[in-house]
């Protein structure tokens, strides 16, 4: 699975992209967020406030209960500020 980070999430985590195998026991977005937070450090800090984290799977917005597969592109980012 590919995980992408943008804006200050990227800066706090310290990388724009990670290639991960689907972690054991993780079946949906909520599971992945919990697993990433449990890694501590920048991940825990960046993902601390769920209200400030938006999630896209395969470039489409999804909710916390969206299922995940090993080939998915998951993107985590703060609320958008374009326009």
């Amino acid at each position: 699975m590919k995980v992408l980070y943008f804006a200050w999430l990227r800066e706090k985590i310290g990388t724009a992209e990670e290639d991960l195998p689907l972690p054991p026991g993780v079946t949906d977005v909520q599971g992945l967020l919990d697993w990433l937070r449990a890694r501590g450090g920048g991940h825990a800090e960046a993902l601390a406030d769920p209200n400030l984290v938006r999630v896209a799977v395969n470039q489409t917005y999804v909710g916390a209960d969206h299922p995940l597969g090993d080939g998915d592109e998951v993107a985590l980012f703060p609320p958008v500020t374009g326009g």
């Binding site: 992408l4 943008f6 804006a7 200050w8 896209a56 470039q59 489409t60 917005y61 993107a75 980012f77 703060p78 609320p79 958008v80 500020t81 374009g82 326009g83």
Partner: protein
């Protein structure tokens, strides 16, 4: 139509292209967003727009299609720039044309409201006090929310 690009654009030429040769157009509405040099407290030296290549195009196309479904539009164009921009520079262009002015206005406003809350762009401002990421505004969410469940005309 949508375009995501680093380069500047020419609003006059884009507007002309939107109406060119289509005598069914009664009104064209254009919004151009620019980098302001003042945002609250600090003076802005510049800003950098980060985006999510691939998803940006997908979201803009989805928003564009939604507007075309809600209003009887003759043509639409969304251009959004990314990269480093200085005060006075253009960021975004939204243009709509329709037989009737209200549809052009409503669709143009809808597009910019949705774009502000859905298109994956993030602004990093450079000020005298350093760099900081712009926070999303509740007023933008409210502006986008008013289109929920509201049809076109």
């Amino acid at each position: 139509m949508i375009r995501v690009q680093r380069e500047d654009f020419d609003p006059g030429a884009e507007l002309a292209a939107l109406t060119e040769g289509d005598h069914g157009v009664g009104g064209a509405c254009v919004f151009v967003g620019l980098v302001r040099d003042l945002a609250g407290e600090g003076r802005i030296a510049a800003m950098t727009l980060e985006h999510y290549p691939g998803m940006t195009e997908k979201e803009l196309a989805r928003i564009d299609a939604e507007a075309q479904e809600r209003w009887p539009l003759r043509s639409t164009l969304i251009i959004h720039r990314y990269g480093r921009l200085e005060p006075g520079e253009r960021i975004v262009f939204v243009g709509t044309t329709s037989a009737h002015r209200q549809a052009a206005f409503d669709a143009c406003q809808f597009l910019i409201d949705w774009l502000k809350t859905k298109a994956p762009f993030w602004k990093l401002e450079e000020t005298a006090e350093g760099e900081h990421w712009v926070e999303a505004k509740d007023s933008d969410d409210a502006a986008a929310d008013r289109w929920q469940g509201q049809g076109g005309g």
